[in-house]
Amino acid sequence: MNPFSARRISDPVYGTIGLSDLEMRIIDTRAFQRLRNVKHLGLAHLVFPGADYSRFSHCIGVCHITGRILEALRESGQAIIKDRQIQVYRLAGLLHDAGHYPFSHAMEQAVRDHYSNQLYMPKDDQAHQTRGVPSDLLRLADHEAVGKEILQQDTEIRRILTKARIKPEDVYRVFTREGVDVFTNLVSSDLDADRIDYLLRTTHATGLPYGSVDLDYLLSQFRLHDNELCLTAKAIRAVEHLLLSRFFTYMLVAYHRTVTAFELVLKDVIAILLEEEILDCRAPAMLDRISTGAWAQFDDGHVLDKIRTLAANPPNESAATKANVILERHPPALLAEFEVLGDRASRKRDFSIARFALRDRVPSYAEHFGIDRSLWYLWAKDIALTKIGARLPVSEGFLTTTDLQDSAHEGKALFEQSIRILKSDATITQPIMELDQSLMRILSDYAYYSLRLYVLLPPNKQDRKPEIRDYVRNDLRSRGIVQ
């Protein structure tokens, strides 16, 4: 009997899927049940009503996809993989997001930025010359670090793993990439179970038409070659379609104008909660939550309660306005936008100049209209189709270097996570962006650049939006910052 079909559950994306008894016991822990109350897409549900699925269903999906890839490899005779090895990787998929903060990435970034601020002081600040900070203030400002801690400290999960004779480090080293082996890329790479489930689940939930990935075919084309996970050359189009679909989904959901506006304000509100010590996310407080089990209540609802507390008793008027953006769904107004899709060599510098020029104009707008500077929000993002294309031109990492061992460290680090294609004669594998016949060869060097300026209008200035927008746009045009 297949141990991974001991229990069956219904999933909206894959239909009926199997789970092992061990996985069910992990799912029943309080730390895992918590994920039901952490939305995967942050505040995207304020724009897309169906985009409110949780990390709970996503993690089960990642477990399922990880298992399907490994079983496909085993059935094809590509690798001798024992059930126990499959179980460890499926558990890594299941638990890879166990350490996510409420509201996912927005809160993680807010925590990191806020506490970074405590590491330094003005040079001439004599009053703080003896100031000390805990050395581990930021140690858990990352969901994978928190996940690692949960596997080590959570008493329920530890007891279950110990009984099954599985070491926690064998599981967390997969999703943290602390120890990399041939299958690590199944859970953390350009085409991994995490990204596949994200795409399928997000498109299913939002109703966007970009999730028709040929999953069965794609999974059947995974291979092992020279200890490297790769896909057959026949799968190139299916892979490209998936990468493009992911790009469109990011653009339409995560980077939707109103979604990004809400996320900017959410980060700001969380920073206020931390500043006012309504919320404590320093490493000692996080460790305490994990070791006492209070972590199970540290979810979206917990933070929303804190935001309500802030709204009821705000330290200033701006804080109340910001809290109500989240509680009452009043998005900031978009005043100006600059977006371009271009090759990174020529566009990145223009984008950078425009970004800082725009930022420098904001104080004058704030003063001109008498709107608190903290109510103006600038969003800047460059988005590439592949990890390697996000930072390095492909040529820097690989193409001009004939000897792989001597190629760039950084390029190598990224290429290690890139999708590799097995040549049709099965002699070597190559990153997909290196293949002449691949769209990714061209598109990896391109990125989408976007700048947005928003303002959160105070109640007494709500009717001035058209005037402010026209003023800002005319000013930016006259200075050549946007066309």
Binding site: Y115, S116, P122, K123, H128, L138, T176, R391, A413
Partner: protein
């Protein structure tokens, strides 16, 4: 400038590492210096994973590109700041590690050696012998220098 970029710039400054990222060696130097700085107790929140050339943090890579972009655009906010004294003290303790102790290695390779050996010992919990064997397998050109690395890491109190 974002506060995490200010903290990064100040840590590099304290360790005497240039924030220049034009060459691959420049960026490798930053990756390894920040790894060692965090191990000394100045945790900026970067998590490192094992890649071909040792510990590497993709988020750190994002941040040094953003830092360079900000500085190029004239943002010098970090210049008016300094790390809090207790963190400066911790970095002082590992400052000597930045100077290459092996004649045949350049600074970036020396830092790769230190960071990789430390990672094997402290993160993957390998014994000295296991770490030396891993270095021999994964980094044959750096492996002959592992004892010098161990000595210097002990002097800096990063290894017991």
């Amino acid at each position: 400038m974002d506060s995490r970029l200010i903290a990064l710039a100040l840590l590099l400054d304290e360790l005497g590492v240039d924030g220049d990222i034009r060459t691959i060696d420049d960026r490798k130097r930053i990756q390894k210096a920040v790894y060692l700085g965090q191990r000394a107790g100045v945790d900026l929140g970067y998590r490192f994973s094992w890649y071909l050339k040792g510990p590497y943090s993709p988020k750190l890579a994002d941040d040094y590109y953003s830092l360079a972009e900000a500085v190029t655009a004239g943002d010098k906010e970090h210049e008016g700041r300094t790390l809090v004294p207790s963190l400066k003290q911790r970095l002082e303790q590992i400052r000597p590690l930045m100077d290459c102790a092996e004649e045949s290695l350049n600074q970036e390779d020396w830092l790769e050696l230190l960071a990789s050996y430390d990672y094997l010992r402290r993160v993957l919990h390998q014994s000295a012998e296991q770490a030396a064997e891993t270095m021999q397998r994964k980094k044959p050109t750096l492996a002959p220098h592992w004892k010098a690395a161990e000595l210097k890491l002990r002097e800096a109190c990063l290894l017991p």
